[in-house]
Symmetry: C2
Subunit: 137 residues, 2 copies
Amino acid sequence: MELNIYIELLKNKNLKVTQHRLEILRFLDKNRTHPSLEQVYSYIKEKFPSISKMTVYNVIDSLIENKIINSMRFVNSTELHVDFEIDTHFHFVCSKCGHIYDIDSELDLEKILKNGGHKADDYNVNIYGVCKKCLKK
Amino acid sequence: MELNIYIELLKNKNLKVTQHRLEILRFLDKNRTHPSLEQVYSYIKEKFPSISKMTVYNVIDSLIENKIINSMRFVNSTELHVDFEIDTHFHFVCSKCGHIYDIDSELDLEKILKNGGHKADDYNVNIYGVCKKCLKK
DNA sequence: TCTTATATTGTAATTGTTACAACTTGGAGC
DNA sequence: GCTCCAAGTTGTAACAATTACAATATAAGA
Ligand SMILES: [Mn+2]
Ligand SMILES: [Mn+2]
Ligand SMILES: [Zn+2]
Ligand SMILES: [Zn+2]
């Protein structure tokens, strides 16, 4: 059963395996649209009508903190967005349709931070513009 | 008089030259620390004690919209930050001291978006980690 | 100086996030 | 399985960032 994937992700980080965490992980895995917390909450509420929004915040926090998922903010949005994909990639945000595209690319941090002395853990690259689809209209 | 620089920036975009806009521009030019709106408001209130926070939002909005200044959000902060510098560069955010460093680098958008069909206007690169100074402690 | 489009203001509403304390539950050890 | 406790969940309330809006004031062109 595929749920085992998520169970392992959690166990590897010594996180308790709860129904909420499993369902949120599954949702994020199947929906790679970079949903906001509100969107995660809307979805999860259908499965667990009595779930608290605080639980969504808590679950997401623990997943981010343990690097099981990624998070990002965009200039034009006031809320945190999350991404099941943790491997390095960029994002393209369309100002017309709002869609957030994955862009397969990565930074050469070594080169960029050359002799600057800073130690990087992570990064986000957000590109803003008009997407292919919207350009065709 | 140096204020002329800011007056021209505004006139070139057909924006009215107001004391508030001038003072906010001067503040951002002299303080390249990527302040949040709250920080801009705190400062400007000393010069214009009766200024409304809404004016700060309006001024900043108009400056961003007209590409006179830049704006960005960081995953660990809930508020918009602004930057007088509009030329392309990256940012490094220290998780210890919170300082936001400018990193002199740029993306090769052509290469990154190759045949993807999207049209980019702008981008933000945020790198997270521990800065030089904090590493020395 | 007059006029008008634009900017400012204050207030209130909305939205996103955090704090906290009481209650519940997963899973380790028996 | 049963017991126990650390970790997770819940609800509520506070707080913070942002937006909406309508009334008033002002910059700048005629
Ligand atoms: Mn992604
Ligand atoms: Mn900068
Ligand atoms: Zn689009
Ligand atoms: Zn630091």
